[in-house]
């Protein structure tokens, strides 16, 4: 084929790879289904994608564990192969690409130059800002440096995972590397956060697919997450929700309630405050999700989830001190301390009250002797009752 990769439409790419229309329609329908979008959206998407251009994608990995990429590569529908070969042009990813060293960096520079203003940047991992950004360097350049350079010509930045979206685990107290989410560093580019630790693979690929189809940013929530996937809480869409409503709760991980599949609220499930598509899209090709496997949601797609107290403390429980310390001892001490100080202040108030009382009783009774002075009879004007 004479067409250069970046000039190809997705339809061209499909034809080149001998993907039939039916196969592609099926692919889009499955993608829509995986993303819990209406089937008609899948049909529309198939049409839009055929004529859309394949966007160039630069995938940057910073302070991360590669879990997000591991997740992404396990996307069933659309599969990562389908995505990379058909829908996007993945021009840089230091983990997946065959090139290395200077050649790899060259690929990035070329992608930036050739697609300036049109390419998509995917960021995986938080950006350490402490000590000049030395905690994450590649090719002698710090993460923040590479991010700033790459972000400049980006059409949009897609933050994959809670680390790049909200700081994630590196950001957790005490944050020794001074890690920041991308949105705290780049202020002038559109940002899409696909949070989760890791994010659901279909949510990553689905968002990219939608972006490829429409060429515009999807609807985002206040945390800049696509509402299509982050619009509902886990709790809202949870198949165990009826048990919550009925007040049936597992009290431990091996009790009757747990075996009966009752609600895990009391075991610390963060479903009610966590927005993600786990309960609908599920994991491993729609096999299951944590709650279905008997473990409460840990809220990994929410900002600061690591610092919100014990993963096993119920949402309504009091939270004392730092993460994970739900000690009633501390609360007892505080409360007792408050009560003791209160009692002391109360005793003071009582003394003051008594003093005041004695002052009012006074030693000057004769001077105020209204009642006792025989001459000073009471002045009485009876009000007549109406």
């Amino acid at each position: 084929m004479a067409l250069r990769d970046r000039d190809m439409t997705i339809g061209d790419a499909l034809d080149r790879n001998h993907v039939s229309r039916r196969a592609f329609a099926k692919f889009c329908m499955a993608a829509a289904s995986a993303m819990a979008l209406p089937p008609m959206v899948g049909k529309a998407m198939a049409e839009q994608l055929r004529v859309a251009r394949r966007p160039s994608v630069i995938y940057l990995s910073f302070q991360e564990c590669t879990g997000c990429l591991e997740s992404l590569t396990r996307s069933f529908t659309p599969s990562i192969e389908g995505l990379i070969f058909d829908v996007v042009s993945l021009d840089y990813n230091d983990t997946l690409m065959a090139a290395s060293g200077a050649a790899a960096e060259e690929a990035r520079a070329t992608a930036i130059k050739e697609n300036y203003g049109k390419y998509l940047v995917i960021v995986d991992g938080s950006v350490p800002m402490g000590d000049g950004g030395i905690y994450s360097c590649a090719g002698g350049r710090s993460a923040v440096d590479v991010l700033r350079e790459t972000a400049k010509g980006a059409a949009a930045i897609v933050c994959v995972g809670t680390c790049s979206s909200f700081g994630g685990i590196p950001y957790a107290d005490p944050n020794p590397t001074g890690a920041l989410p991308v949105s705290d560093i780049i202020g002038n580019r559109p940002i899409i956060n696909i949070s989760g630790c890791p994010p659901i693979p279909e949510v990553i690929t689905g968002t990219l697919l939608q972006y490829a189809a429409r060429g515009t940013l999807p609807d985002l929530d206040a945390q800049r997450r696509p509402t299509a996937f982050f619009g509902n809480s886990i709790h809202d869409r949870c198949y165990r929700r009826p048990f919550y409503d009925q007040g049936k709760f597992a009290k431990s991980f091996d009790d009757e309630g747990a075996r009966n599949g009752w609600c895990l609220y009391e075991l610390g499930c963060k479903g009610p405050t966590t927005y993600n598509a786990c309960a609908t899209v599920k994991w491993n090709g729609g096999t299951s999700f944590p709650i279905e496997s008997g473990h409460g949601c840990i809220g990994c797609s929410e900002p600061g989830f690591w610092d919100k107290g014990s993963l096993y403390a119920p949402l309504s429980a009091a939270r004392w001190g730092k993460a994970g310390e739900a000690t009633s001892m501390e609360s007892l001490e505080l409360v007792a301390g408050g009560a003791i100080v209160g009692a002391a202040v109360g005793a003071g108030a009582a003394l003051l009250g008594r003093h005041r009382q004695n002052q009012l009783i006074g030693g000057n009774e004769p001077a105020a002797g209204v009642a006792r002075a025989p001459g000073a009879g009471p002045e009485v004007t009876h009000r007549q009752e109406k």
């Binding site: 109360g346 108030a349 009582a350 003051l352 009250g353 008594r354 005041r356 009382q357 004695n358 002052q359 009012l360 009783i361 006074g362 009774e365 105020a368 209204v370 009642a371 006792r372 025989p374 001459g375 000073a376 009879g377 009471p378 002045e379 009485v380 004007t381 009876h382 009000r383 007549q384 009752e385 109406k386």
Partner: protein, 435 residues
């Protein structure tokens, strides 16, 4: 009313407030503070009060009657008093406010204690009102009818001047009724006293008391220096005067080594002597205090009092508040009536829940309070009518006087009778002579 006050100096507003605060402070303790703090403003006490029920006027809500003192408490001695003063959260009580409250604390409260039984928070509202009266007294705001009588009684022992001393009137009653009036015996088992209401209005009741005591054969005596049962100091809120008046009786009872001080048919005298005198005395009394109804009930139980059956049909009984609700003497009058073979048709509200006659707490003596009092007592009269009883008994001469007054005012066809007089009339067997 005796000589008009020679007042040339009405107390200044500041002195009034100072006086009220002094009276308030003298009374305030943990218990009353607790009560003042507990009120949740539910207004339920209004529904116990006959003044509110008759008028539906919110100002007669019992707890509202102590509002200035609630205010003073919050300002002066509550837990947050310094903050309340600092931020001016409660205004200082003013003389004008106190003046307005005179009507609420005296004219429209019989200290009957019905509100103390309804309060869901368990506040003894009547106790607070009694304390508020003390403060009003100190502010010079006790009504003159009560103030004058209290002043005179504390000075002379007699709440009103009389042409003939009460002592002589008492002896005269004895002569007229042909009963022995034991007077000024050096020693006696029981010391007697007499309501001046009975001397002036109900001499039969005085004679009945003597007759019953003679029947019982108990060595008893009146004492010239401690003759009058009433305590106007209690009504007026003059704590010191109340004490002085009580002390006369206490001293006389101590002097004649009485084992029992017998309070005649007078409700508030019973409260003053039975429940308050010892506290004013500062130590337990060396004798017991009994209301004559209570005493006769005890004698009946002990088999010393023998009564003939009366041939009257249905009677009804008005429970004096101070005797029953505030005094705990509920069964004795009923036992006595039963012993006389009377069939008692109870009032709709009876026992501890009876409505006050409307005259208690000194209100019967307040001229200006009469119109309101008549409105408040109308329901009570209806209750009496509704029983269909042929006779209407009570055991408090102030209640009796109030009903008698209503008889004239309303042209009511019922006459209140004294339970004591009925008992005296039904004494069985030969009278033992007094040793």
């Amino acid at each position: 009313m005796n000589s008009p006050p020679t007042a040339d100096l009405a107390p200044t507003p500041a002195a009034r407030v100072q006086g009220a605060m002094r009276g308030f402070a003298r009374e305030l303790g943990a218990l009353s503070a607790f009560r003042l703090d507990s009120c949740i403003h539910c207004g339920i006490c209004a529904d116990a009060c006959h003044f509110y029920i008759a008028t539906e006027d919110p100002q007669y809500t019992p707890i509202w009657k102590v509002e200035p003192f609630k205010q003073a408490y919050k300002r002066e001695s509550s837990a947050f008093a310094p903050l309340v003063r600092l931020f001016g959260l409660k205004r200082e009580v003013t003389a004008e406010q106190l003046g307005d409250w005179q009507h609420l604390l005296f004219d429209s409260c019989n200290l009957c204690g019905r509100c103390s039984l309804i309060c869901p928070m368990g506040i003894d509202v009547a106790a607070l009102i009694e304390q508020a009266r003390h403060a009003m007294f100190e502010a010079g705001l006790a009504p003159p009818e009560l103030y004058e009588r209290a002043a005179l009684q504390s000075r002379t022992g007699q709440p009103e001047a009389s042409t003939e001393p009460y002592r002589d009137q008492l002896l005269a009653i004895g002569r007229e009724h042909g009963v022995v009036i034991p007077l000024d015996l050096a020693e006696a088992e029981v010391m007697l006293c007499v309501p001046r209401t009975d001397i002036e209005h109900y001499p039969d009741a005085v004679a009945a008391l003597a007759r019953v005591m003679t029947h019982l054969g108990v060595r008893c005596t009146f004492r010239s220096d401690g003759l009058i049962a009433e305590n106007y100091g209690y009504f007026a809120g003059g704590r010191d005067w109340q004490r002085e008046i009580s002390l006369r009786l206490i001293e006389q009872a101590v002097a004649c080594k009485a084992k029992t001080l017998l309070v005649p048919e007078c409700g508030h005298a019973y409260t003053a002597l039975r429940w308050e005198a010892a506290d004013l005395y500062g130590k337990p009394l060396p004798f017991e205090v009994r209301h004559v109804t209570e005493y006769l009930g005890e004698q009946l139980q002990a088999g010393r009092l023998k009564l003939k059956k009366a041939d009257t049909g249905k009677v009804t009984f008005h429970d004096p508040c101070q005797l029953v609700r505030k005094g705990g003497v509920t069964n004795a009058p009923r036992e006595l009536m039963q012993a006389m073979g009377l069939s008692v048709s109870e009032l709709q509200n009876h026992g501890g829940f009876a409505f006050c006659c409307g005259g208690g707490g000194g209100v019967i003596d307040l001229k200006g309070a009469a119109p309101l009092r008549y409105r408040a007592m109308a329901a009570k009269l209806r209750e009496v009518d509704d029983t269909g009883a042929q006779a209407f008994l009570t055991s408090c001469s102030d209640c009796r006087r109030t009903f008698d007054d209503a008889r004239e005012h309303f042209r009511w066809d019922k006459t209140p009778h004294s339970l004591l007089e009925w008992v005296a009339a039904q004494l069985a067997g030969p009278q033992k002579s007094q040793p």
